[in-house]
């Protein structure tokens, strides 16, 4: 298994697209965070100095969502690029236990996504803090609560990147992975609009991410405490990877 992970990591780091996307994800998150923070007086009708500091940092952390979108593309490419280039055949020849390949790809995507998401989260939060300082306010204290928010928020891009990977394996297409994972990203919004689907809210990856970040409020439809949120997040990573591994092993290449 270690050799397969190592091989997949070599693959990911020896093409331009993956490192480029990782950098783009961070850059885009920072850019979007800056745009959100700078536009707060317009969108909220208040100056930054008049807003609760946690709201300013929270607005900056929305930049993570664009990192999630870019990481969806990255995750989808890690699997999807194997099919048009044909490298999936030598990959399965060298590792005939195909489930190992899928798991190794997931490990690589998770590793890259965690690093990218944490860097992006820290930089986005720094932009929020900087805006507060520039507005003459005190920065949000760097305490357990803020760190939990950053860490929890950073899990979002990871789970969506894995979703892109998994759907790309199943559809054998980068485009399929991107489209499928973007659809998953939009599901919470749709569920929020339709009352009859409210029961789905605590089952979605967004509920796990918000629960881990501690930003969902008790009594709301999607609220989860940290422990069930962690279990749900693990489930959202493990179960799809398991399904993709099974599908990869069952089909002709």
């Amino acid at each position: 298994m270690i050799t397969t992970v190592r091989s997949e990591m070599v693959k990911a780091t020896t093409v331009r697209s993956v490192p480029t996307l990782a950098i783009v994800a961070v850059g885009a998150a920072v850019l979007l965070a800056a745009v959100f923070v700078l536009s707060l007086p317009i969108t909220q009708g208040r100056t930054i100095a008049d807003m609760p500091p946690s709201d300013v940092v929270g607005a900056a952390l929305v930049g993570i969502d664009v990192a999630a979108v870019v990481l969806i593309v990255l995750g989808s490419l890690v699997a999807g690029a194997e099919y048009p280039t044909g490298t999936i055949a030598p990959t399965y020849l060298l590792t005939p236990h195909r489930e190992r390949v899928v798991v190794a790809k997931a490990v690589v995507v998770v590793a890259i996504a965690i690093v990218v998401a944490i860097v992006a989260a820290v930089l986005c939060a720094a932009i929020g803090q900087g805006a507060l300082l520039l507005a003459g306010r005190d920065a949000v204290p760097v305490d357990g609560r803020l760190l939990r928010t950053l860490a929890g928020t950073a899990t979002g891009p990871v789970v969506y990147a894995v979703a892109g990977l998994v759907i790309a394996v199943i559809t054998r297409s980068t485009g399929g992975g991107v489209a499928g994972a973007l659809a998953l990203l939009l599901v919470p919004g749709i569920v929020g609009w339709i009352d009859a689907l409210g029961f789905l809210a605590p089952l979605l990856p967004s509920a796990a991410v918000h629960g881990l970040a501690g930003v969902s409020q008790p009594g709301t439809a999607e609220y989860l405490a940290a422990a069930p949120a962690a279990l749900l997040l693990i489930g959202w990573i493990m179960a799809p990877v398991g399904i993709a591994a099974w599908r990869a092993g069952a089909r002709d290449v």
Binding site: V15, A89, P90, L93, L94, D252
Partner: protein, 320 residues
């Protein structure tokens, strides 16, 4: 050794490979010949566990590919030289393969040198010619220094020097006692490369045997007695010796067309019967004509393997 037993692959109504059975022995280069769409690549993919057979089995040293403990060190395979990421360098392509197989980096330099692409090792594969991609694919197949080599059309895109290099490489591997199985549509080239041949058409086995055996069945020995009246006596004697004899009735020359007997044997029979000859010549149609004859069913197939079809191919003798 590669053993294919009753291998069948259906795609809905289409039968791509139909109850195929043959073996590929170590110590010789075995060519795999068939027209486009005959089922060669599908067969190779099933041997390598990439495609699941509808029926039958394909094993390597008695094990299915997916059961091999160290597949890269057991089997080296090249299915399609285009199976490379164009944005990756040749060295990096081999790096991920070596990592997957647990092979050290030193071996990467060895196979790059061996395949003659060391000078281009750090160039992106997207700029490679088909011939260079073939060499890279072969480098990948050789990474694990495998006991079994399985290459699908490795001669495509190679220049004459490259073809000669591949031929010598394959023969060298076979001499070392390895199992070498190579498909090609370059039949005359395969004639110079392979010692044994497996011929398939429409997914079915047409013939298998040594190149000489296959060719011998489409080689025609032209014999003409000096006295046309001796033609029938000679024909009977040659037939009894195992030759398939046709009497040329288009002229009164008494000429005979004989298959399945070497010229030395035919000459000796004529001598024993006291028949003076005016012509004794072997007409060799080559492997390409042999293949075409087998594919179109215009000649009985030669077959050294009892599993080969059609079974009439094994029959000899008789005067027609």
């Amino acid at each position: 050794m590669i053993t294919v037993d009753g291998l069948t692959k259906r795609y809905g109504e289409l039968v791509a490979v139909d109850d195929l059975s043959f073996t590929v022995e170590p110590g010789a280069v075995t060519g795999f010949i068939g027209a486009n769409g005959a089922g060669k690549s599908t067969t190779m993919r099933m041997v390598l566990g990439l495609d699941a057979p509808t029926a039958g089995t394909a094993t390597i040293d008695g094990k299915r590919y997916r059961s091999l403990a160290r597949p890269a060190r057991t089997v080296g395979a090249l299915l399609d030289p285009r199976c490379v990421h164009p944005g990756r360098s040749a060295r990096d392509h081999l790096r991920w393969m070596a990592a997957a197989a647990g092979i050290g980096k030193a071996r990467i330099d060895e196979v790059l040198e061996l395949t003659g692409i060391a000078h281009a090792a750090d160039r992106r594969v997207g700029g490679f010619s088909l011939g260079m991609r073939q060499r890279l694919g072969i480098a990948g197949a050789l990474l694990g220094d495998p006991e079994v080599l399985l290459l699908d059309e490795p001669l495509n895109g190679l220049d004459p020097d490259g073809i000669r290099w591949v031929r010598e490489l394959l023969r060298g591997m076979a001499v070392q006692g390895r199992t070498v199985f190579v498909s090609s549509h370059l039949l005359n080239e395969m004639e110079h490369t392979a010692e044994r041949i497996v011929v398939i058409g429409h997914g079915k086995l047409l013939a298998t045997g040594t190149v000489a055996e296959l060719r011998s069945h489409t080689m025609v020995l032209r014999i003409a007695p000096a006295d046309p009246r001796a033609s029938q006596v000679l024909a009977d004697a040659l037939s009894r010796a195992g030759g398939r004899v046709e009497v040329d009735r288009s002229t009164d020359s008494g000429g005979l067309a004989v298959r399945g007997l070497p010229p030395e044997a035919a000459g000796r029979i004529a001598l024993e019967r006291g028949v003076a000859l005016r012509e004794l010549a072997m007409h060799d149609r080559g492997l390409e004509d042999t293949f075409l004859a087998l594919s179109h069913g215009t000649e009985p197939a030669a077959a050294a393997d009892p599993a080969a079809r059609p079974t009439e191919a094994l029959s000899r003798g008789g005067v027609s």
